[in-house]
């Protein structure tokens, strides 16, 4: 199990993701600079959070044309798992690897705080170790996380179980006050049709070990790595 963490100019959660895979889970992980063109030998690709290319023009708009993105698309086409977190999610959307768009937050402000998300589908490679309907507390830090899609796309996402996470109250109830950025259907994360490209706005890599006061994000990386909770890392 070897993870590539793609580094764009402006990525700033690349080390967090590396730390989780390499040190918390004890798996192989390497940084891959965005100008590289191959992901040969990697099993999992993570597009980390940050502000790739300064978020100029639109978040992810320039990053999607980075040389590495062809290899990312190729990895996805072959069924390899790709996980975009926050800015990485924005890049995957701009690249057309995930549907919809991420607008400016409903309240316009950049939001940096903990939120609660409910696992809506626990039968995916990202959420397979979660309990059905499990509520996870994790931080968000974004200005453009207001998920939107045309009604047809939203209906398909919902109908096909491709909404993975929704913003909810701490007790797991849908409540507009907890849909912090105004996302359509309170969507916080989705998966592509083939079930191998994942994107979410919250940051599970920032709360993946008890030292940080909350390890609730770890289960997603354990799921991706095919581990069991508590099992010794390979």
């Amino acid at each position: 199990m070897k993870t590539a963490i793609v580094v764009f100019p402006g990525s700033n959660c690349d080390h967090d993701a590396y730390h989780v895979m390499r040190h918390v889970l004890g798996l192989q992980a390497e940084f891959v600079w965005h100008k590289q063109t191959s992901l040969k030998g990697f099993d999992l690709v993570i597009l980390p959070g940050g502000f790739a290319h300064g978020d100029y023009l639109r978040c992810g708009a320039i990053a999607r044309f980075s040389p590495i993105m062809e290899a990312v698309a190729d990895h996805a086409r072959k069924g390899g798992p790709v996980f975009g977190i926050c800015n990485g999610f924005q890049v995957l959307i701009e690249a057309g690897l995930l549907p919809g768009a991420l607008l400016r937050n409903r309240g316009v402000a950049f939001i940096n705080r903990d939120v609660w998300v409910r696992v809506e589908n626990d039968r995916t490679r990202l959420t397979g170790l979660c309990r059905p309907g499990q509520v996870l507390q994790m931080p968000i830090a974004h200005g453009e996380g207001n998920y939107t899609a045309d009604p047809g796309t939203l209906a398909r996402l919902e109908g096909e179980g491709r909404v993975l996470f929704r913003y909810v109250s701490p007790s797991g109830e849908l409540d507009d006050r907890f849909n912090v950025n105004g996302s359509a259907n309170a969507i916080a994360g989705i998966v592509n049709e083939a079930g191998n490209v994942f994107g979410m706005m919250p940051h599970p890599e920032r709360n993946a070990e008890p030292l940080l006061g909350n390890a609730q994000g770890l289960v997603l990386f354990e799921s991706l790595a095919g581990l069991r909770p508590g099992a010794e890392a390979a």
Binding site: R58, A61, A101, R104, V108, D150
Partner: protein, 84 residues
Amino acid sequence: MRALVYVTLKPSVLDPQGKAVRGALRSLGFDEAADVRVGKLIELTLETSDRTRAEQRVRAMCETLLANTVIEQYRFEIVEGTAP
């Protein structure tokens, strides 16, 4: 030759920025500000003198990079001369 590219959110897409600006205008007494939409103006200087070709190229730029046509629409003008 120059191109002025205007990129705006589609009418069907909510514009949180425009809504905030509208609120600010109204709180300043500009009650006639019924609706506000915020967009981008991108000014391009083009190394070409072929207007037809310039239009084709700028349209391609919009479709490829300058606008996200999932949520945005664009229009552009090709104007003679260089930037003022």
